[in-house]
Amino acid sequence: MEKVAIVGQGMVKFGKHTEKSFVDLAAKASLRALENSRMSEKNIDALYLSSLFAGELNHQVGTASALVDTLGLLPCAANRIENGNAAGGRAIREAYMAIASGVHDIVMVTGCDKMRQVSNATVTDYVATMAHPEAEYVHGVTLPSLAGMLARLYMHKYGMERKHLSMVSVKNQKNGCKNPFAHVQQEITMEGICFEPESEINNPLVADPLRLYDCCPVSDGSASIILCNAERAKEFTDTPVFLSGIGQATDTLAVHERVDPTILNSVREASKQAFAMAKLTPKDISFAELHDAFSILEIVESEDAGFFEKGTGFKALEQGITQKDGAFPINPSGGLKARGHPVGVTGVAQACEITKQLQGEAGEMQIKNAQSAYCCNFGGFGNNVTALIMKRKN
């Protein structure tokens, strides 16, 4: 019997939100989550705000306190959670533990980041500070470069070709066209980004072998969910979604210290914990939302989460298995590639997308008969990962 349910979700369309302050942007998604549940602000016991860059890019700290005041949630507890790219996943895990332990009954988790305030170069630099300061960052390593090296090694080891990376992008941008909250709503084709000579300009090199369309956009955005004690879920919604498994694991900060960098140990361990807790196996899962900040990550995560044998994720992709109408859809929302990646928001946004799917409210994105789903929020370059399994029925 699950202890925690999601009873409300809300998102703001990801993109560029220059006119809204950080707190206003966070408040918008939070209010939508409240509206989505049958709940007043007085019900909320605590708020966890996940954000990576509120202080650094938006010159504001103590943002959780500002948000609860703006939302009229006083005197509820308020905390900001920072955990690299996995801030959202970790905030959900903290909320889960607070409810399951009986400390709180109802917790709002809101993710917010505004990253379009500064240039792409500045954002890339901030994000790169998640890498090892002496062994990586100081030598110019960025997250795209780590992903590029992973892709090159994986290609060498398992025989994947560059076209498979583009297949991820084409699939996810197609899915993103059906997502009203996606930053990028534009279909792309294999010819335009991979096969035709013009693809050299259309899809320029970023970090060999990764090209422009292998990388997620830099986005502003916010997303919010409301979690509550599962026994009370029906008070607030007719279609609660249950958190049946949750895991978190870490790996070496410096990628070169891993015995085999093509194996994402933190994804394996976090997923193992989540499946054990849910008493499910990967075969029981209807679909997944994976952390495709770079196209290679969707392929490798799909293996290390347990959905495909090692070295075969790209073959499943090529066979159409991971398409929205395939046997095991991955990123029907468009993933980070199309939805966008305001870094501290992504874990919460994944939970929002899954909640909609399991409630049957995903519109044109809807996966038929979706009963359970998995998501993975990938922090740093795999040094801190959360995995989440959600179910339709308790």
Binding site: V12, K16, T18, E191, I201
Partner: protein, 226 residues
């Protein structure tokens, strides 16, 4: 009398005008962009499409669009010498505009690049096309390039590995000048200049019924401000 003054002020071409042969570009979204020389009678449509961006005070769109507006208007009413204007057209809609001015048979001033459809790299293909026209069609030895925006700087100076030429005065306000030499152009051509010719006649004809568009940047703004 007024006719006489007009003949004095009228500045069109004083070197041989060589038509640009249209080409077709496959875009990331699978659509085809036709790049062709704009006709003077299309200038009002171009101006109408550029005009709203003059009030978009971000990323230097205001100054780039204001200057391009003046350049296209000058071309339309014959107040600029030796200016050519190329346009990109996708599904009958104006995707972007570029223009250059030939100083003489050897030197070209690169003016502006304006992508009205965003996210399809239209600007990169159009910039390449106007330099292709200057060097391969007109046979100039050198093109002087500058940029008002950091985006332009990254696109042109860095991607094309241009040579810094601070001693040269660019026409756009005397700002810092970089140079694209014929030699450098041919070195970069295989990775930066694309397109197929001839453009099928029916595709080419589909570009002649141009309609002004609301620049995507302005449409995007209202959508993103959710």
């Amino acid at each position: 009398m007024s006719q006489d003054i007009e003949s004095i002020l009228n500045m069109d071409w004083d070197i041989e005008h060589k038509p640009y042969q249209a080409k077709a570009i496959k875009l990331a979204n699978g659509k085809t962009m036709v790049i062709r020389e704009a006709k003077k009678e299309e200038a009002p449509i171009l101006l109408e499409s550029i005009r709203p961006l003059q009030l978009y005070h971000k990323d230097y769109y205001d100054i780039v669009s204001s200057r391009m507006y003046a350049e296209i208007l000058g071309w339309y009413v014959n107040r600029v010498r030796n200016e050519f204007v190329l346009i990109g057209v996708v599904d009958g809609e104006l995707a972007g505009i570029v223009n250059n001015r030939l100083m003489n048979n050897k030197i070209c001033m690169s003016f502006h690049t304006m992508a009205l459809m965003r996210g399809i790299r239209a600007g990169a293909h159009l910039f390449a096309a106007k330099q292709e026209n200057a060097i391969e069609n007109y046979g100039v030895d050198e093109i002087y390039v500058t940029a008002e925006s950091p985006i332009g700087f990254h696109r042109w100076m860095e991607e094309w590995a241009l040579e810094l030429r601070p001693e040269i005065q660019h026409e756009l306000g005397g700002v810092t000048t970089w140079s694209l030499t014929k030699e450098n152009y041919y070195k970069q051509k295989s990775k930066l200049v694309f397109g197929s010719r001839p453009v099928p006649q029916d595709l080419l004809e589909s570009t002649y019924n141009l309609k002004p568009i609301v620049p995507q940047l302005l449409r995007q703004k209202s959508e993103d401000e959710d």
